[in-house]
């Protein structure tokens, strides 16, 4: 039997990926350029018995998603720059309460209203540092329609496995472009469901570290009664200000993602084996970079591409290793140097790193990257 193939927009593929992953709840608020995710799910979720709700604002949408997830349902919201800013409050709440949920942020220009229909890659730092306090972050940056589908599935899997919010951030170009997608068959991609508690309700503690750094989360209405609060809490879920407990819980929340970095981080290497120059790029910019690498090689320049797929946790080890193999690294990105900063942090001065930045709402084309490669040579 041949697989189902479609010509589809990235945001639409994202919505179908969510359904594939078992998402049965969406709450959102209209915002360009992510609205198609909501539009498709408003049609698709009722078909599979799920719920769609358009909330009164972005904050309420994030809140409803967390509330829904606490009943054991996989829940999603989708937004863009200004909405992502508004959601930070409750993203922090999901971090500290350790409630799984997925946020799609289709990146547009900023700050503020910026350029609603223009592409951008300038929310990557917000995805890590957007909400206050120390907290873990997982952020995936797909570069194609197909990958927006599969990374949405992976986002749900990571979220359920690690009890944490996960952000998927296509730039506007990836979200809005249309290309061929081959739909995975049911069962073809792994789908992870959160583990249910194994202890009787009377013994259940929502942050019981005897089960490791990711304790099982019970669902409201499943016979387990417990308390959830955004205050610093003890293993029983109730607020505490006791220094030792707060320190331990805070450290565990960050550690649970940090120590799984090797399991979470994904990237793609293209023609890097003999490369003198590495382009580190992600999203739509990585597509221009791939083209530029091919062009450079036609002119005898040994260039290669390191494509970031998991932005957070950042592929630190892989970038450090890359720095030991190449003579120069270039980071083209639709912001003013966020990835450059992060790459330099990993490279520790081993290799020169330069950036190509664009924040005018236009994509970075292959010619601009090729010019950058020539400049470095």
């Amino acid at each position: 039997m041949s697989k189902k193939v479609a010509f589809m927009q990235g945001n639409e593929a994202c919505a179908h990926g969510a359904i594939y992953a078992g998402c049965r709840f969406f709450a959102g608020y209209p915002i360009t350029p992510s609205t198609e995710v909501a539009e498709v799910l408003s049609a698709e979720l009722p078909k599979v018995g799920g719920s769609f709700i358009q909330m009164e604002d972005e904050i309420g949408a994030m809140a409803a998603v967390i509330g829904a997830s606490l009943t054991g349902v996989k829940a999603l919201t989708a937004t863009s720059g200004p909405g992502f800013s508004l959601k930070q409050e409750n993203i922090g709440y999901a971090c500290i309460t350790e409630v799984p949920c997925v946020i799609i942020n289709v990146m547009r220009g900023g700050p503020s209203t910026g350029m609603p229909t223009g592409p951008s890659q300038s929310d990557v730092m917000q995805a890590k540092w957007g909400t206050h306090g120390d907290h873990p972050a997982i952020c995936l940056v797909p570069a194609s329609v197909q990958e927006l589908f599969t990374e949405t599935v992976r986002a749900f899997n990571l979220s359920e496995k690690f009890r944490t919010p996960v952000t998927v951030m296509p730039d506007e170009i990836v979200g809005h472009m249309r290309e061929r997608i081959v739909f995975p068959e049911p069962g073809e991609l792994e789908v992870v469901n959160r583990p249910a508690p194994t202890v009787p309700p009377a013994d259940y503690r929502p942050y019981d570290t005897s089960f490791g750094d990711v304790p099982p989360l019970a669902a409201f209405g499943s016979g387990y009664r417990f308390h959830v609060t955004g205050l610093n809490k003890a293993e029983d879920g109730f607020p505490t200000t006791r220094a030792g407990i707060v320190q331990a819980e805070e450290e565990r929340q960050v550690r649970k993602i940090e120590k799984a970095t090797d399991e979470i981080v994904t990237w793609e290497e293209y023609l890097l084996d003999d490369a003198d120059i590495a382009i580190v790029a992600f999203g739509s910019t990585s597509r221009s970079a791939r083209f530029a690498v091919n062009e450079a090689r036609k002119h005898g320049i040994r260039a290669g591409l390191f494509r970031i797929i998991t932005y957070w946790p950042f592929p630190e080890k892989q970038i450090a290793d890359l720095a030991s193999r190449v003579k120069a690294i270039i980071t083209p990105e639709m912001n003013l140097g966020m990835t450059l900063h992060e790459v330099r942090r990993c490279v520790k001065g081993m290799t020169p790193v330069s950036g190509i930045f664009r924040v005018d709402g236009e994509p970075i084309g292959p010619a601009q990257i090729l010019a950058g490669i020539r400049e470095v040579m």
């Binding site: 009722p46 719920s51 709700i53 409803a64 509330g67 016979g223």
Partner: protein, 271 residues
Amino acid sequence: MGFDYGKYIRPGKLPHIWCPGCGHGIVMKGLIRAIDSVGFSKDMTSIVSGIGCASRLPGYVDFCTLHTTHGRGVAFATGIKMAKPEMNVICVGGDGDGVAIGGNHFIHACRRNIDITYLIMNNNIYGMTGGQFSPTTPTGAKASTTPYGNPDPPFDIAKLAIGAGATFVARGTAFHAAQIDKLLAEAMRHKGFSVVEILDSCPTTYGRRNKYKSVIEMMNHLKDVAVPLSAAEKMTAEQLRGKVITGVLYKENKPEYASEYRKLVERVQAG
């Protein structure tokens, strides 16, 4: 004779954090009696709150409880109700939480008529942060941020709820303790968004700035201003000046949001 609150209070959680004479404890007892009288099971009842003194209530009671972010309780509750309509969902909070920072969620929950009971403990002040004026602080009243008297006019929460589309709206006071559970029980039995405002007092941050000499004076104030709806109907506008009408102020039957959405799902699935 007395009511066994121990059945619903989490072991070891009392005494609660509320100040001496704060009415929130009286209201919590009313809420517990109401839940008991309507027979909601502990496992299938979720109590959600935002931030503030009143929002600490869920921590004490043995249900599926969720203490969320400031003003967002109703939005979290909406997610729970939509994802699991068979759960009984109750949201609790104070005046600042509910109609200032949470005002948008509040009016839209009223508009949707989603089956959530929303208990607002209105003590006319932000107590937890030290007594700043709230959207229900009377004009002229003193608060830590209105040292010359409050220049703002207040909201009438019940009118706001009715105007926004809530299908059950009631008001009581912490003084009239025996009425609290009656109002809340009727609200819980109502299918739709029900709002119960309980006028409450904050002796610590409101009373002492506004010439209430004691907890008792504040309780007596609640006693004096409250006029039951039946009595109010026979009073003139002049007689009602400075009074607050209590009882079930509004009730109508309208399609409930979560069950209407499930009907939509069935329709779509039937093709």
